[in-house]
Symmetry: none
DNA sequence: CATGAATGAGTTTTCATTCAT
DNA sequence: CATGAATGAAAACTCATTCAT
């Protein structure tokens, strides 16, 4: 039955996701995943070629979505935000998250991606972060993409995505939490630029 | 010779620190540490009871310092910062890092601590973070220690400590970097509170 | 449908034969055989009790034929070849292979048999080889069945059967190739005996 | 102690050689090798990086010797043997094997090489065989290196090396056996060429 | 008949740790 | 003190085989 197969595939995937979150991909054990998925070690290999294949299926969707989000952002090529626009944006922040683009960030699986130390996803992740940082730098009118500000924003962004996801799993609450984070973050950057002007 | 013994202890410790940073404590291999310390696997066990003992010695100092820093902060019981005081603080931020208390945060070993997934240090770390968050909440006049603002600050703090340490290893540059981060962060929180007032 | 059943049996058998040839019986994988036979792993077990049963069906025919060939040869108890007879035989060698007895040697499945390291066929094979060697020794007037000459002929015989089968799969070409081999071989043995006489 | 280490290395190597001969490299089990070497599975990995490393150490010497033998033969570029020279060679065959070049062929480890189905040694082996066949073809004045005669000789050569080694392990007896084989083989080829002339 | 999910023992390999020398 | 041989458990993965549907 295909129904059952898909169900077990999903069960394995969910068990793997949990284990990857707790112990990291590298530290997670296939045996434990099998146990938590109520199946045997060998049987997992009927569904996934190997450990990395599970990671692959787990990360495919969120990675593609994030990639698309970044690409869409970059393509827009919208002008630098003026202070006024920035403030307007902040005021309307509550609606920001309704913007479908941002939704992809509230995905638990991204935490797994952030913690990866091996596999080709490391490069994918770092490339995506770099791209995003470059665009962010242009967005904020920075000359050097290695500028501290960009790094700060980027790291805070990631740190908060991670935190929001691990502590407030419900999507609705997560969204609100994320908005708050983003608001404070933007306020910080803005007031800093104001000082410099 | 006690000198030589101490030297080897130190060499092992340094090799372990590098390996722990790259692969994480759990992912680091005693064999590799032995090789990088130019000694043998078995000899490490003359200096350290086991893998965790190395971690213990490695983290003792930074953990105690951070603990002390938090305790000192809490004991001061200084009043809530008024907006004015806060702004004054920000203006003088360049001297902030000279404050010996903060120096302890620029320690590479804290990154290892942040990434830990096993051992009793996880509890120590989480307790310390919780304590700091509680104090931070009181500091900022928040009623709930789980408030988003505190989490934001906390996470940004950690994320930036991590980043500053991994990208700018020289202490001097690190300090400047850290100050920038902290400045933006405070500015954000402050402007946010101003809005609310 | 019995027709279909037989067809699938045959397909499995052919897939197994290919795999056994490439990786050897022991190294061949049931999964791969299933895939190459366009069926499922489980379904193979409806046609064959286990892996060895496939080998059994695969080797039954060629083994029996070879056994019969050897027995027939032994039963003939024809006299020792004189040098003259031997030379006559060689002259007529091109017709030798038309002799139906020999045809059984040009069977790809014998290569699988030669490479076997497990199962009861090992004994069957070794017994057959031993019998053939004994008869060959008698044929050539050797006193000791372990004589080098017999071993040489036997091994060359097998080696060439193997080679002819793996390089020239078309039966017609194989036949010619085999004749050449046999001719040279006999010439060698003969000229050697001549020397000794 | 280095003495003991080398001894155990040797013990493991010998156990591996036996197992490889019986079950083939691919079919041999590290567990069994460990047991037969009176050590533990894990301990083998102190001496050899992996299974293939054992094969590597096992085959290095015989492979290099055979390669050298072939190269030396090819470099000589000696003329085609005339029939007379060939016969002289045959008469002096008993001394042929004293020729140090040939000694390398009487090595049990070559049987392991011949039976290999995986690892890079397959290419090394096939390249060496091809080189030898080409030279042999030139030696015998054949125009086509794929000629049946060359294949015959080559296969017989290998088959007999294999047989001699597996049945007559004592070097002295092996040598005599090998000479007989070679004699018959040459006689066969020679008488065949005579016929053609 | 056919499917493919399931199993359990097998494989090679790595690891932290112990111990005799 | 130092060495490195030894150990045993656990890792990822494969395999022949079974069985419910």
């Amino acid at each position: 039955m295909q129904t059952k197969k898909d169900e077990i595939r999903k069960t394995i995937l969910e068990a793997a996701q949990k284990e990857f979150l707790i112990h990291g991909y590298e530290g997670a054990s296939m045996r434990t995943i099998a146990k938590k998925a109520n199946t045997t070690l060998g049987n997992i290999y009927h569904y996934y070629e190997n450990k990395e294949a599970i990671l692959e299926e787990l990360l495919r969707e969120p990675v593609e979505k994030v990639k698309k989000m970044i690409d869409d952002h970059v393509k827009l090529q919208d002008d630098l935000y003026t202070m006024a626009e920035m403030q307007e944006l902040l005021g309307d922040l509550d609606n920001l998250m309704d913007y479908h683009e941002m939704q992809c960030l509230l995905d638990e699986r991204l935490v797994i991606l952030f913690d990866l130390r091996t596999t080709h996803f490391v490069k994918i992740r770092d490339d995506a972060i770099h791209k995003f940082k470059q665009h962010l730098a242009w967005h904020l009118g920075m000359d050097d993409d290695d500028s501290a500000y960009v790094d700060i924003i980027m790291n805070t962004f990631i740190a908060c995505v991670r935190h929001v996801l691990s502590e407030h799993k419900g999507t609705e609450e997560s969204k609100k939490e994320f908005i708050k984070v983003f608001k404070v973050l933007c306020a910080g950057v803005m007031s800093n630029r104001k000082e410099e002007e």
